[in-house]
């Protein structure tokens, strides 16, 4: 006979055991972070003392503390610029997703359509953004519209090509199944092809999210809109012409952080959408 107390005790013991395993896993996870953090600190120390150790002039390579100081000193203007850049890049990114998916759906309708459009999609990808940005700015004037368009051009191709691959690789027998049940074109699209292509679309989004931020900054750099509407691209222009290296580094770091955050966001959305069914987002037990 097991008494209630014993039972409860067993319960607590089991609970403790689970807790310990979880702690262990957490510790292991933390252990995984240790090497890159140590490397980072090492480089930081080296960098900080580069002036004294290697005689590198501070105006060429400002010390990390100086860069942090520059971020703090210019915090409000950096945040304002980041906000502008963020808005523009999210606009370009959203436009890429909508247009990219629509174009891919259109291309998936027939081989002829696919073959006629594909080369031009590739051209969008291969044209250097620094050469096309001035043209767009001349055409549309310096402003949010042209920057959005530049961001779009840089980020749309991964969406098109990934979505197209997903749509075209839809399992053949599932298509047959839909035909057997006399599904309409819309039903086949919504209930089969789009869900099937979703992991592919999300992969495309992961690639193009960073591209959208870069495209925006290049656009701002070229457009040269001054003042508070300039975005990070303009901050970089100003800092570069004045040779304020600490501010330039500060802008670069803020740009990196934003690109990284956007990627993390897309990655989180991807895992959320796919967690129940797609291999890429399932935590395997073995």
């Amino acid at each position: 006979m097991i008494t209630a107390v014993e039972e409860r005790q067993a319960g607590t013991e089991a609970y403790e055991a689970v807790k310990q395993v979880k702690m262990k896993m957490k510790r292991r996870k933390l252990k995984g972070y240790t090497p890159p953090v140590l490397l980072f600190l090492f480089i930081l120390v080296l960098w900080q003392s580069s002036n004294k150790l290697f005689g590198i002039e501070p105006y060429l390579l400002p010390a990390p503390t100086k860069i942090v100081q520059a971020i703090i000193d210019n915090f409000s203007s950096l945040m304002q610029a980041s906000y502008m850049t963020f808005i523009a890049s999210m606009g370009g990114f959203a436009l890429s997703i909508v247009v990219g998916v629509l174009v891919a759906i259109f291309m998936a309708q027939s081989k002829v359509v696919e073959r006629s459009i594909y080369p031009y999609a590739v051209v969008l990808q291969t044209v250097p953004v620094v050469s096309i940005a001035p043209i767009i700015i001349v055409w549309m004037g310096p402003g949010l519209n042209s920057i959005l368009l530049i961001s779009f051009i840089v980020s749309v191709f991964p969406i098109i090509t990934n979505t197209l691959t997903g749509l075209l690789s839809t399992e053949h027998n599932l298509v047959n199944l839909m035909s057997l049940y006399r599904a309409s074109w819309w039903q086949k699209l919504w209930r089969l092809r789009i869900p099937f292509a979703t992991p592919y679309i999300l992969t495309g989004m992961k690639i193009s999210s960073g591209a959208a931020v870069i495209g925006t900054i290049v656009g701002e750099y070229q457009a040269g809109i001054g003042g508070s509407d300039g975005g990070l691209g303009y901050v970089i222009t100003v800092a570069a012409t004045q040779l304020r290296m600490d501010y330039l580094f500060a802008a670069a770091i803020v740009s990196c952080v934003m690109g990284f955050m956007v990627f993390i966001l897309v990655n989180m959305i991807s895992n959320l959408v796919l967690r129940n069914w797609h291999e890429s987002s399932i935590e395997m037990e073995n």
Binding site: L180, R191, W277
Partner: protein, 277 residues
């Protein structure tokens, strides 16, 4: 000349056998599938099947067996309307009276793989045919649940396909095929990828469903014993080109169980059919 003559005899031979096969069924049964001189030639010139004539009565369980390349799957796809044929005629009486424009073809198809949508839960997979037909939500959920109960998976309604074993996935696939309430169920080697124990169990379950629903089943397999165990008649095909060699009625009474599988009659029938392939 001689060759042509022997071919003629052959053809007459098989025609007689078809007629013979039909006589086994009560005259009152309605013909649900009528194939006449079906021929399928690919664009490459390869003749997949030729001279296939077959009548299937309502309520029958017909298995098509044959070596690989005999065109048994091709034939099933033609019946389903998934592939077209080069010559002959095909009549399917499974659809409802509304005719060709109707949303309901009255037939379902079970593929070799379970062919489930991984992003849909088990119940949502079973619901699919009803959702496509825009059946009201409460109604289709009840219907899907009933079919899941039929295959014994009601506890797994909210699971995702990846969480199920191969046999369970195939059960979901069968439940989905039944969901639309078809008159004709076409199955293309549905248990080919399963282990023998699971296959035996699913064979029995399928027979139970067949008896309970009165559905007509056309079952393609390369496993002669499986065909004998399940069917009211077995269509033996041979390859190059795919033709019907013989139609063998299996007269043993239902329900069938292990005692049928271990009987002399079963062994003899299996041996006879194997020798025809």
């Amino acid at each position: 000349m001689l060759q042509a003559k022997s071919k003629e005899i052959e053809e007459r031979d098989y025609k007689e056998k078809v007629i013979e096969g039909n006589e086994e069924n009560p005259a009152s049964a309605k013909t649900i599938v009528k194939l006449k001189g079906i021929r399928k030639q690919y664009n490459t010139g390869v003749l997949a099947i030729d001279h296939v004539s077959l009548d299937i009565q309502e309520g029958e369980f017909v298995s098509i067996v044959g070596p690989s390349g005999c065109g048994k799957s091709t034939l099933l796809r033609i019946i389903a309307g998934l592939g077209d044929y080069s010559a002959g005629s095909l009549e399917i009486a499974s659809g409802d009276a509304n005719g060709k424009g109707s949303k309901d073809s009255g037939l379902s198809y079970v593929f070799q793989d379970a062919t489930l949508m991984p992003w849909r839960t088990v119940i949502d997979n079973v619901i699919l045919p009803l959702a496509l037909r825009k059946v009201p939500k409460a109604e289709r959920e009840a219907a899907a649940m009933e079919k899941l109960k039929m295959v014994g998976l009601e506890k797994y309604a909210d699971s995702y396909p990846r969480q199920l074993s191969g046999g369970m996935k195939m059960r979901v696939s069968i439940a989905r095929a039944l969901a639309s309430g078809p008159k004709l169920l076409l199955m293309d080697e549905p248990f080919g990828a399963l282990d023998e124990m699971t296959r035996f169990r699913l064979n029995s379950e399928l027979l139970q469903i067949w008896q309970d629903t009165g559905i007509t089943v056309v079952f393609v397999t390369h496993n002669v014993q499986e065909a004998v165990f399940l069917s009211t008649k077995v269509v033996a095909m041979r390859a190059h080109p795919g033709r019907i060699r013989e139609i063998v009625p299996i007269e043993h009474a239902y329900p069938r169980g292990d005692e049928f599988r271990s009987s002399m009659a079963f062994t003899e029938l299996s041996a006879t059919i194997s020798s025809l392939l």
